[in-house]
């Protein structure tokens, strides 16, 4: 346990000094502010670009549009940036041999995997938390009184999906060779998950649902229990992936 915290501290220092923290926090802050703004300004912008004399009725934007932006941005750019930034977290140490020294001093490999996942999860949680908070504040300011349902659960689903991707990335980095091998493998796994939805009935259990159905929740079109199966599977998958990462990393010759 002690090793876990020692290494967690080292990881966080690394994120701060190698600009990982800066990138993620700024990107998610920018998203947090942009989301409501884009929602508010889109009709005006559209109107400006419309050819003269053409009248289109654009519905007044609501808080839901703002949250639609939040989920869209987080799901697309946000998660991509997250994976990009953390892609080398394990691979670099293996390829450079920085761990050998610490492992001979008795650092357990379990602590390495646990601390790396813990540190990434912490940064992801803070990032998505700040983004959601900013979106929330500005949405309330711009669209006061608009109803949004199951918001916390919808954000939680997005968070859980990010946590799942980080576990995929860690296991993939332990398995794959090279600095970008893990990232590539993660990409492949996501594609496979998307294609699994073709199978009838699979979508309900697919972790993808956690990042796809958030707006249904927010709009009240779906109730949280609809996502419980996917959430359950995802939690189990995270644990299994961490176990896999550890098993592979244990066998790895450094």
């Amino acid at each position: 346990m002690n090793h876990f915290f020692v290494f967690l501290k080292k990881e966080l220092l690394e994120y701060a000094r190698t600009y990982k923290l800066l990138i993620l926090l700024t990107v998610f802050i920018i998203f947090g502010i942009t989301n409501p703004l884009i929602a508010k300004l889109t009709p005006d912008l559209l109107a400006n670009f419309m050819p003269e004399g053409m009248t289109v009725t654009i519905p007044e934007p609501t808080a839901l549009d703002s949250w639609a932006q939040f989920f869209k941005n987080t799901q697309q750019m946000g998660l991509i940036v997250l994976l990009l930034v953390f892609s080398g977290v394990l691979a670099n140490e293996i390829s450079k041999g920085t761990l050998i020294n610490l492992l001979t001093k008795g650092l357990s490999r379990q602590a390495v995997i646990a601390a790396k996942y813990g540190a990434m999860l912490l940064v992801w949680s803070v990032s998505v938390g700040i983004s959601a908070l900013l979106t929330c504040i500005y949405t309330v300011y711009l669209f006061p009184g608009d109803p949004v349902s199951h918001l916390i659960f919808a954000v939680f689903c997005m968070w859980l999906f990010g946590a799942f991707l980080l576990a995929v990335l860690l296991a993939a980095s332990a398995l794959a060779k090279g600095n970008y091998g893990g990232l590539l493998l993660t990409g492949c796994i996501v594609v496979v998950l998307f294609s699994l939805n073709i199978i009838p009935g699979a979508a309900k259990y697919n972790p993808i649902a956690l990042a796809a159905r958030n707006m249904e929740l927010a709009a009240g079109a779906a109730e949280p229990p609809a996502l419980y199966p996917a959430a359950g599977i995802t939690v189990l998958a995270v644990l299994a992936l961490l176990g896999l990462a550890l098993a592979v990393f244990r066998k790895k010759e450094l």
Binding site: Y19, I23, T26, P36, L37
Partner: protein
């Protein structure tokens, strides 16, 4: 201009965040002569021209070894 006056509460932090990212990247580029690939001029152009994306790409792919 109306947009600016109306939404400065949004635009100001947005601009600050974008600039913070850009300036940090530029400072790093000027302090470090070697990159994983590409030249100094290329990275400066990327960081200045592509808001947000430029600095991210630089820090993730272009930044040389270590700090």
């Amino acid at each position: 201009m109306d947009v600016l006056r109306e939404y400065w509460l949004f635009l100001l932090p947005l601009i600050i965040a974008q600039f913070a990212l850009m300036i940090t990247a530029l400072v790093h580029i000027f302090k470090h002569p070697t990159y994983r690939f590409g030249s100094r001029a290329m990275w400066i152009a990327i960081v200045v021209l592509f808001q947000m994306i430029g600095p991210i790409v630089y820090f993730v792919f272009g930044r040389g070894e270590d700090d």
